[in-house]
Symmetry: C2
Subunit: 364 residues, 2 copies
């Protein structure tokens, strides 16, 4: 049966989400950042990382559990590297930090061609792909990685989970070439723990080589699956390791302590890394056949998608297609189950629920 | 049967390799760069990318086939981005270009915290891992990628090879922490075409999901394998795409034309991208338990390798172990077959062959 979606006005959504964050102690500015970013995720069809997930995360690991401090101020750590900044964000809300970090990276990239912001004492920023997509929409090449909240992933050839699902996200400003930004954005585990739990509920087997049991032995049984496995054997393991190593240079501590009870003197916070590159700062200006940069990017992508490959998927295409649906609907799209959850949230904070009977359906 | 290795003095090796390059028309400086880098690869056990491979590549795609121009000069393209440079290297020898690019990135990183050099009109640089390992040995975080010579890889869900094997290489200065630099360095295909050819000679099947036949259908039969497949499904495909997209911003043209016959006005050259980060420029200086940065990196790696994971492999460990063997041997290690090939090369350029009877064996 086709899932039905209801159309919720962005302003309604943002008002509810901002109110929920303010109720949790966040400032108006932080709460608006959180709402804006959740709306951006929902606009792009990212149902695993919407406002419901964001608030759930804040409860489990954030302000509900001393992992995030409402109203915290970002301290810039003084260094003499002109294209780089290091921030102690003092466990400030991840969405506010990430928005500001990308903004600062863009300013640095405008001057230096490349700019980086490294963030210590971070809290979850929800969806790394969103920040690089935002930067790519504005014409920049952007990259971010972070250490995930929990160590759930077993290193290649290992037995025990000592790595996070550690995502990487790259965005490229290809809108003038192909109509949308290329966004390469994924965790370094084959699947997320949420997927394991979903398959467990549904009584379905896991994909092969996605999880191991408590002894570190491979299993496709979601009842036995205890830990996750990196994608692509030693190659995905290397990608997961990059985030941990970079975090260890920034200020992050032991992965197995992250978001958990810690001994005196230890740290349990994730780290963020952001980088933006100005596309003019990598351009030789000497493109074949007199093409300009965007025409050249288009020609290369058309070549990759040619020769019988017309039906291949370009990363970021799914986000663009979802954004087009959102635009056509004239509002954010949520299922009946999601709306019920939003209404449960509204009830908790004494806000007005959404009347599902009155919400228009989107049938395309 | 255990393979036997003979010890060749580095000076002997470099003298022969430099002479071979000079015979091919390269300047003394280029030839010495080529010899030094091949020696560095052999020191670190990289048998797939040694001097024999380098000269073979130069014959097939380089100065032997108008893909590389001996004595070419690098032109710096003037831009106003202070931490970035763009070079037209005019098909200069890849090893010389890469050595200079990493050097320039290090200077930029010393001042700006991060520095990048993008290179248009490039020729093969042999082994990206070597340059980032070199930078990591000198205390820097380094990254490089390039577009591979030929489009041999079929995009995820595609039929036709329109991507290179497009490697990525990251190096981290972890020697003070764990005794060697972490180096994450691999192609984005499951296997290289050389591996397919080797298994074909040996009559052995390919790993699953590593290759497709001429129709784009999966095969493990090396006789039928025509094209390669990215590692890790859509995730490895995304990694391969990064190199093509970045190259398209730099100045690279259609992947399917690379290193092949091209129509008038087209380009057939790969592109390089280099980036170096100063580790102080990402450091919050606020490490747990009063640790300094290198102590913190060590603590994180020990945590990852703890808890039953003591036997896991750290990327770069294989290079470090090979370098230790080379040091113990007091010279570069080559098999009898490799020495025969070096002697064939010596014969071609009228140099003295190595007397295998007189070479000491390394038996450890």
């Amino acid at each position: 049966m086709k899932e039905e979606f209801y159309i919720v006005q962005e302003s309604e959504h943002n008002s509810l989400v901002s109110k929920a964050y303010q109720k949790r102690g966040f400032t108006e500015s932080e709460s608006n950042d959180a709402a804006r970013f959740c709306s951006f995720a929902s606009t792009h069809g990212v149902r695993t990382h919407n406002a419901l997930k964001a608030i759930h995360l804040d409860e489990l690991f954030g302000s509900g559990n001393n992992g995030c401090t409402p109203g915290a101020e970002i301290e810039v750590i003084e260094k003499n590297f002109e294209a780089s900044e290091i921030w102690n964000c003092n466990k400030k809300l991840g969405q506010s930090v990430a928005y500001q970090a990308i903004e600062r990276c863009i300013e640095l990239a405008d001057k230096y061609g490349v700019g980086q912001v490294s963030v210590d004492n971070a809290f979850h920023y929800l969806w790394g792909g969103g920040y690089v997509l935002d930067a790519a929409n504005r014409g920049y090449i952007a990259y971010t990685n972070c250490t995930a909240g929990l160590a759930e992933v077993v290193p290649f050839m290992g037995k025990h989970p000592t790595l996070g699902t550690n995502p990487h996200s790259w965005g490229f400003p290809t809108t003038d070439s192909i109509g949308f930004p290329i966004v390469i954005d994924w965790a370094t585990s084959v699947v997320a723990m949420g997927r394991v739990q979903q398959l467990k509920r549904e009584g379905q087997p896991l994909p092969k080589n996605a999880a191991v049991d408590e002894n570190g032995d491979p299993t496709t049984d979601p009842e036995k699956a205890a830990y996750l496995v990196p994608f692509g054997a030693h190659k995905g393991y290397g990608m997961a390791l990059i985030n941990e190593i970079l975090a260890s240079f920034i200020g992050g501590s032991l992965p197995t302590l992250r978001s958990r009870e810690i001994p005196e003197g230890e740290k349990r916070t994730p780290s963020f890394y952001f980088q933006v590159i100005h596309p003019d700062a990598v351009s030789s200006e000497a493109f074949a056949c007199g093409r300009n940069q965007q025409e050249n990017v288009r020609a290369v992508i058309e070549d990759i998608k040619g020769h019988g490959n017309e039906n291949i998927f370009l990363p970021g295409q799914d986000f663009a297609e979802a954004a087009a649906r959102t635009k056509e609907a004239g509002g954010l799209l949520f299922s009946a189950a999601e709306i019920a959850e939003f209404n449960h949230l509204a009830e908790q904070i004494s806000a007005n629920p959404w009347d599902i009977q009155a919400l228009p359906k989107f049938d395309k």
